[in-house]
Subunit: 205 residues, 2 copies
């Protein structure tokens, strides 16, 4: 693409650095901002700058938070003995939405992934292991995505906790509620047969 | 969505104001920026702010430009007697890419669209008509998109120019080069038959 303006070219370049946004989309977004009142751009840029410079992470669960201890960790009604281990804040939001979990979270900040140069030291695994070794935690629920990286991360944490009395579990994998069996992939279907549950239990949720 | 941080919520809200970006994508982009070095966010925001506050439009063709007269208008080798009328800078870039046009452009800044509250006075039609009436322009090529709004805009400009000697034309509509006839819509196919050209001419480009 050849631009008639360096300012436009630079803005398009910076927007297209965002994941999933190509040059054409970036140009569309830049031209959109030019057509809108100047305040829209300044609101957007100040929101992004504030987010990046002022964001804090909860000292306990490492979730994004505006205060030192996030709402969930600060809530005395939540069960501190059960910790759900997740990748990022989106997983916390998704699980909170179900209304089925009253324990605490621990946000790892990613998965162990040699391909993307993410090792255990880049995640908050040390702080999780420390928390467990301090005592008071009876169960860890691994809720990472069901990929090679997720499984590796689960296993790494599991090994780090050897010798402690903590119980570990992973969330159930199986056919999604409402899904047709014939379209399910064979690994999921296979696991859902192996890990079948008593029919009475299935009527609880 | 419930957010654990007002800063994050605000950033997601502002990003999701951009066209084609929903709340989920906005959250993904915000979390991406949080994972990147702080400079990436500051480069992005300063590029957007500079774009919005310092952008200029060419005084002749209204294209986006960093100087008062854009490169195309300032080029003495371009033919000032032929003006190609387009909606926005993307159309200029697309036509320039073909290398087939050596005239000038006039960027309207949109199309007449009552549905989106865009009237003739919101576009640069007045300046185009003024340019033609001053003389020196022999042909206007309408290169707007082939929609109701595009046709309305063409017709409005055409009526404004009644009484002048300027020639008006529109770019050819037809089956795209490389397209299969059976998949073409009937209006396009119909037009391409009505507006057929001598076979010898078709071998020129």
């Amino acid at each position: 693409m050849e631009f008639s303006s360096k300012l436009l070219e630079n803005a398009v370049y910076e927007i297209s650095q965002l994941p999933g946004i190509g040059k054409r989309t970036a140009l569309r977004l830049a031209l959109h901002l030019l057509k809108q009142p100047e305040e829209q751009t300044s609101h957007l840029t100040s929101a992004l700058e504030k987010l990046r410079s002022q964001i804090k992470f909860c000292s306990n669960c490492h979730n994004i938070s505006d205060v030192a201890l996030c709402e969930i960790c600060a809530n005395p009604k939540r069960d501190a003995s059960t910790i759900c281990v997740v990748e990022d804040i989106r997983d916390v939001m998704a699980i909170e939405n179900t209304g089925q979990f009253r324990g605490m979270y621990h946000v790892l900040g990613g998965k162990i992934s040699p391909m993307e140069c993410v090792g255990p030291q880049d995640l908050t695994i040390g702080s999780l292991v420390g928390k467990v070794k301090q005592g008071g935690v009876t169960e860890l629920i691994f809720a990472l995505s069901s990929t090679m990286e997720g499984d590796t991360t689960n296993f790494y944490i599991f090994k780090q906790l050897e010798g402690t009395a903590v119980k570990t579990s992973t969330i159930a994998r199986g056919i999604a509620v409402g899904d047709e069996l014939e379209y399910a992939d064979e690994i999921t279907l296979g696991r859902s047969i192996l890990n079948r549950i008593p029919f009475e239990n299935s009527m609880k949720a």
